[in-house]
Amino acid sequence: MNNIYLPHLAEIKQIIEESPDTRTFRLAFRDRDTADRFTFNAGQFAEYSAFGDGESTFCIASSPTNREFIECSFKVYGKVTQSLQRLNTGDTIGIRGPYGNWFPLKELKGRNLLFIAGGIGMAPVRCVIENVLDWRDDYGSLTIIYGARSVNDIIYKDKVKEWKSRSDVKTVITVDPGGETSSWDGEVGFVPAVVEKTKPSSENTSVIMCGPPVMIKFTMPVLEKIGFSGSDIYTTLENRMKCGLGKCGRCNIGNVYVCKDGPVFTYEQIRNLPQEF
């Protein structure tokens, strides 16, 4: 019997402490066949098991172009993430997926891309950035605007450093007022204000934006003022999920199932959904 609820097993190869409450697992499938067969697109998510405490939904944070390992990043919040946090290198977790739709990176070839990320929303955005950097010649200018609560809360510090050092990527990092340190050389301010200050051009540009709802709410009007239309702005919706397969019935917004029709939506699509998310 083909059991759709049966996860693949993966070993935690490395644990990266990203910030006081966020960590990244570098994972390798226990089974060679699964490792070879497991392919995904940027933006897709998976269900990660901490056996004994259940499953939790996160995006795949590493790039699909990376065939060596996959990574997921999570903030310790609920029962399952607390359980995952207790695991060590060498321990086994379960992975079901990949599920859901993805950012249309192939269709966006030839365009300039503006990445806007806030907090743990950097995880799905990082996946896209790395993917795009591996296909660098296919895209125009790249701009990254990333906001964290404080310097300490910045995740993927090595990646951020790498992006900043590249001449073909414009990288702007900001921390919330009060979150800066004396040696901080980046921006201080909330993401919407920093976007306004950076004034990215909307010409032939698509936006990939993930972050807390409050960030998205206040960044949208700024982007519209600059000249972006709702169909050029891609974001992800997160809802509580159990199955990830369009069956368990809790992630829907109207007749849209976030696990199947999402998690990636354009802002135009979101505007037409019932306001229940």
Binding site: L9, S49, G52, G54, G90, K242, K247, G249
Partner: protein
């Protein structure tokens, strides 16, 4: 074309006895739920009984079932696939408001990803439906495309002609295969008599037009009507558990020792506040009115949009069992300007 035969009740019970003797499961409506019949003397076959408190849903979609077993040892985890016992289940005398329920849920359990736990069980069902000769103030099958004489979902369909005889209609190939070994019990039908009985069916009055409801729901996601219901509802989800087609579920791990446990798929309900609660504390359906709106929309709008079917059979169980007398028929009838 459906073939019709005549069968005496005593012969029908002989067939049932044979089903039990073969070791297959025979389900029939009991006092408050469908029960596994051990002895044919328990079978009532009463067309004038109201629907049981809960349907046979748990036999195709169990209240709680393991989907896998896990064993932890030091760093490693071993998974053992859960098995489904796909035994034949013969349902005798199911109401027309129940017979179609499996077909309605089948679409959900099979779009894109196929839930074989459901499928393997559904595949082994033999549905012997029976004409319904009663209704109460909660019944509204005729408003959702069903009726007391609907053969929808039945493999075989019984029409009670008297206390002792039934017309037996062979509706599907599966039904024919089941009844073929018992053809010696079947006599020629008196179709005229059957038609007379069918036309005397007591249809519950049509309460609403589902197309109009669908259209109204599309325009009234925000409506003060939802607030009113939200204030009455206790969020106990009795309605979801009693419903023959509500199918939402939870997936939870259950440890039964330090190193072993199982992952369970359990019935859940959209009326529970925690159903959509995020770990962060955010809840898209944070108040009862939103949850009730979801329930009605899911049944009469979203499911129709997705699968072309109404997620309701009109059995009235949710209303009959509601501790605060919320009547879905009344609410849906009021889904109009």
């Amino acid at each position: 074309m459906t073939e019709e035969k005549l069968i005496l009740k005593e012969d029908l019970l002989r067939i049932c006895d044979d089903v039990i003797k073969k070791g297959d499961t025979l389900l029939a409506p009991g006092k408050s739920e469908y029960v596994i019949v051990k002895d044919v003397s328990e079978i009532k076959l009463d067309p004038e009984a109201l629907p049981t408190k809960i349907s046979f849903k748990s036999y195709v979609f169990p209240k709680s079932e393991p989907v896998l077993y896990y064993k932890r040892s030091k760093n490693d985890v071993t998974l053992i696939d859960a098995d489904v016992n796909g035994r034949k289940i013969v349902v005798l005398g199911a109401k027309p408001c129940d017979t179609g329920s499996i077909d309605i849920m089948k679409d959900l359990f099979n779009w894109d990803y196929r839930d074989e736990f459901f499928n393997l069980r559904a595949k082994h069902f033999i549905m012997i439906g029976m004409m319904c000769k009663t209704h109460d103030e909660y019944c509204f099958c005729t408003s959702v495309g069903c009726s007391p004489v609907s053969e929808n979902g039945s493999d075989l369909f019984l029409i009670p002609l008297s206390d002792k005889e039934f017309a037996l209609r062979i509706v599907t190939e599966k039904g024919r295969e089941f009844i073929e070994p018992y053809f010696r019990f079947l006599c020629d039908a008196d179709t005229k008599r059957t038609e007379e009985v069918l036309s005397a069916a007591k249809n519950p009055e049509t309460a609403f037009d589902p197309d109009e409801v669908h259209e109204w729901l599309g325009r009234n996601f925000e409506s003060p009507k939802w607030d009113g219901i939200g204030e009455v509802c206790l969020s106990c989800a009795q309605c979801a558990f009693a419903c023959p087609v509500c199918h939402c579920f939870d997936i939870v791990d259950e440890d039964y020792s330090y190193s072993e446990g199982r992952r369970m798929k359990n019935w859940d309900g959209c009326q529970f506040g925690h159903f959509t609660l995020h770990a962060s504390g955010h809840n898209p359906r944070d108040i009862q009115s939103k949850r009730y709106r979801q329930r009605i929309n899911h049944k009469f709008r979203y499911y129709v949009d997705k699968f072309g079917k109404i997620l309701c059979t009109g059995c009235g169980r949710c209303s009959r069992g509601c501790p605060v007398s919320i009547d879905i028929k009344e609410i849906v009838s009021n889904c109009k300007d």
